[in-house]
Amino acid sequence: MKGANFLSLTVEERREMLEYIGVDSVEELFNDIPKDLKLQKELDLPPALSEEEALKYLRNMAGKNKNLQDCVSFLGGGVYDHFIPSIVKHVTGRSEFYTAYTPYQAEISQGVLQAIFEYQTMICQLTGMEAANASMYDGATALAEGAVMACAATRRNKVLVSQSVNPFYRKVLEGYFSTRGLLLEEVPIKEGQTAIEKLEKAVTKDIAALVVQTPNFFGLLEAGLDKAAEILHKNKALLVTAVDPLSLPLVQAPAEYGADIVVGEGQGLGNTPSFGGPLLGFFATREKLIRRMPGRVVGETVDNEGKRGFVLTLQTREQHIRRERATSNICSNQALNALAATVYMAAMGPKGMREVSEQCLKKSAYARDKITSLAGYDLAFDGTYFKEFAVKMPKDADEINSHLLKQDILGGVDLAPYYPNLKNHMLLCVTEKRTKEEIDALTAGLEGLK
């Protein structure tokens, strides 16, 4: 039988085992399923493929996608085409890591536990926060969990969210809030940035937090976050920020402007885009909020002989102990993606991280200048950009993108579906992987469209 190569029992063994149990056939072991529930037919599934057939079939299917090697991509919006050192895949490909379960048995899971401890340390380094968890599903859910945690910590049920936060994230946040009976209120944007001047009035006694993103969805670094933090803290509310970890080697750490909960998407740290998943949510916070943090955490301790070791800790917050009183229901998360991020950061080191950050900044500035020098193309907003920027164009984004696609260029994200007043606007992303030649080709492609 095909498909049998993952099974181990032989016909003879099955017979011996049935005999030992004292039944005649394996079917008897299913007699506890009531007759009218037992499936009376064979599953209607395609026939099994051999390994060679499966590889061929799936290679063919994969070939129907344009991939980021066939194309030059200027797509961002939450998932990025960053360089991944070869060693990342080799470490995460060690089966001791990827075929393990959650490290419940610490003594035989020291490898992943220590790696996660290093990950938590590096996330704290990047954000300036005092504690980080061992990974979340993605940036969007990390943001939603951060907002939920802010409500629990302040015992308030309303959160302000800036309209410049990634619309995909806001969609997830809305769902998480509506189901828990928590309230959201949007803070408008002015010139592509959170209208901080509206905060004085908006931050009332029932506000738990403000949720912002920097660089925000338009690629702009939010300018007034220290002011925002001041207003919030004065009212005993919290600042929750979503950040791009690869901006942090250059850009002010969230702790420096007063953030209380810092979240973000860590895919750019050594993880492939994979059509939007698996991604890696990171989550960091101040010491005083540690016991309210959702998800898994690894802590350092000692063994019975005083030797240093690591365990999953603060588990009394968790679903398997606290059940309905847990701080979150997170069980499986993104541990292997956190491992990839750890290896990425270890390989790049502080200098490599800074270089990636600088190249993003400088190359996107070059692209911005080049594109906005074309007639009909303008920067949507003034301000400080990191690696993405919004451009106003002479035509509909779809039309421009299909034109670029003919030259194997993946253009930008159309902003109109998320911001109806930004018709003919596109979000372009330039990472360290884009070359001058590629940026010039994009510009030439856009110029040809005038």
Binding site: L7, R14, L37, A48, A106, E174, V251, R323, L339, K351
Partner: protein, 477 residues
């Protein structure tokens, strides 16, 4: 570790005109404290993490009978496929004409899983079982709200996975616990007493966490539906019944699957997983957007679901994990899947039959893919379930799940899965017998286990009382 000046990366020379950071980034926005991270060469990084990997136990390292987790062998071909550039290097916001293969894969996986579960539609957006539970309850809530009902209660058996009550609370419900009867099944009488028009759903897994099939499931589902409640299926235990029975036929309205369990995608030391949910027709309008549809030969993402709960993940879920599950499905086919369940159940019953001679078996009846022993007799002699687990580490085994389900004293929950051979089961059983014998003779030896691992028994209390969650430079002093 490391030394300033060492370097484990290389990047191309900046090829655009160089402008200073100060010109592009106002001083106020620049980072003040430089990153304090080690500087390492590439070889040092590889050696460090390779060394760490040797301190870790995976399915490839040895037997992993962790109950309720279905730690079966993860075919290597799955990794090959998920790593293909056409799957791994695709951006989620590409034009739909450039992602037809990805959409086709989601569409076809959905089709196969609909058949396996007996459900009408699936979403792949949830990325873990617990995430699926949350999504499922959000869908149930939206369904009731659309009918103008605000239901407040979710029923959960006392043997349920901890995620079930936690999720129900996350979704804003009050949790009502339903006791198990002497056979280890849902106490139907108690269930009926708890039912009223405030019940949104009953969360159940079948086979349940004791590895037993809920034989009265049809009566249960009838009773819950009669008060307008819905049935939620926790798919953690689906591995036992593929090709034999389907949750959709049992009356379940929402099902989550753990692709990382049943469909052989690796668990990654705690993720990435994938927890798609399947629903019956009446719940389809409430699924998160987008759904994958087919129009003629073209696949597309459908966002036109006005009653949708919105989104539960930034994009479309853990696509890379779905790729692995689909590869597995295609290589197993219908016969392979059914054989997998048959062997999983046979392995569990065989091992149970052997071990019940040494350990107390609280529910002595045919099990499905897993069974729960109690170490209560051993505990009386001085070493309980936790000690037995640690002793197993010395023999190179990953222990069973311990102290769960909560309704069994000193529980040891064993799930061998279908990918293990008889020799492995026999070896494990002998070791378990040997440990029991050792407890009879000298429980202290077992209580101080493990003895051969890289670290001894770790102080979890200290870790929780004095949390050290990151390395600090002061540690060097």
């Amino acid at each position: 570790m490391g030394r300033p000046g060492r370097k484990g990366y290389s990047l191309p020379q900046l090829d655009v005109p160089d402008r200073s950071v100060d010109e592009l980034l106002p001083a106020k926005m620049q980072r003040k404290a430089p990153l304090d991270m080690p500087e390492l060469s590439e070889g040092e990084v590889i050696r460090h993490y390779t060394e760490l990997s040797t301190r870790n136990h995976g399915v490839d390292s040895g037997f992993y009978p962790l109950g309720s987790c279905t730690m079966k062998y993860n075919p290597k071909v799955n990794e090959e496929v998920a790593g293909m550039p056409g799957f791994a290097l695709v951006h989620p916001l590409q034009d739909q004409s450039t992602i037809q293969g990805a959409l086709e894969l989601l569409y076809k996986t959905e089709k196969e899983l609909k058949e396996v579960t007996g459900m009408d539609r699936l979403t792949f957006q949830p990325v873990a079982g617990a995430h699926g539970e949350l999504t499922g309850l959000m869908v149930i809530q939206a369904y009731h709200r659309a009918k103008g009902e605000e239901r407040t209660k979710v029923l959960v058996p006392d043997s349920a996975h901890g995620t079930n009550p936690a999720t129900a609370t996350m979704a804003g419900y009050d949790v009502v616990q339903i006791p198990s009867n002497e056979q280890g099944l849902v106490d139907v009488k108690a269930l009926k007493e708890a039912l009223d028009e405030k019940v949104a759903a009953l969360m159940l897994t079948n086979p349940n966490t004791l590895g037993l099939f809920e034989e009265e499931i049809l009566e249960i589902s009838k009773a819950v539906h009669e008060v307008g409640g819905l049935l939620y299926y926790d798919g953690a235990n689906l591995n036992a019944i593929m090709g034999y029975a389907r949750p959709g036929d049992m009356g379940f309205d929402v099902v989550h699957l753990n692709l990382h369990k049943t469909f052989a995608t690796p668990h990654g030391s705690g993720g990435p997983g994938s927890g798609p949910i399947g629903v019956k027709e009446k719940l389809t309008p409430f699924l998160p957007v987008p759904l994958v549809e087919k129009d003629g030969a073209d696949y597309y993402l459908n966002y036109e679901l006005p009653q949708s709960i919105g989104k539960v993940h930034g994009f479309y879920g853990n696509f890379g994990v779905v790729v692995k599950a689909y590869t597995y499905l295609r290589m197993m086919g219908k016969e392979g899947l059914k054989q997998a369940s048959a062997d999983a159940v046979l392995n569990a019953n065989y091992l149970m039959e052997r071990l019940k001679k040494t350990y107390y078996l609280p529910y002595d009846r045919v099990c499905k893919h897993e069974f729960v022993l109690s170490a209560r007799e051993q505990k009386k002699k001085g070493a309980g379930a936790g000690d037995i687990a640690k002793a197993l580490l010395d023999y190179g085994y990953h222990p069973p799940t311990v102290y769960f389900p909560l309704i069994v004293e000193d529980a040891l929950m064993v799930e061998p899965t279908e990918t293990e051979g008889k020799e492995t089961l026999d070896g494990f059983a002998s070791t378990m017998e040997e440990i029991a014998e050792a407890i009879n003779k000298d429980p202290e030896k077992i209580k101080s286990a493990p003895h051969t691992t890289v670290v001894g028994r770790l102080n979890e209390v200290k870790a929780a009382r004095e949390p050290r969650l990151r390395w600090k430079r002061d540690d060097l002093k």
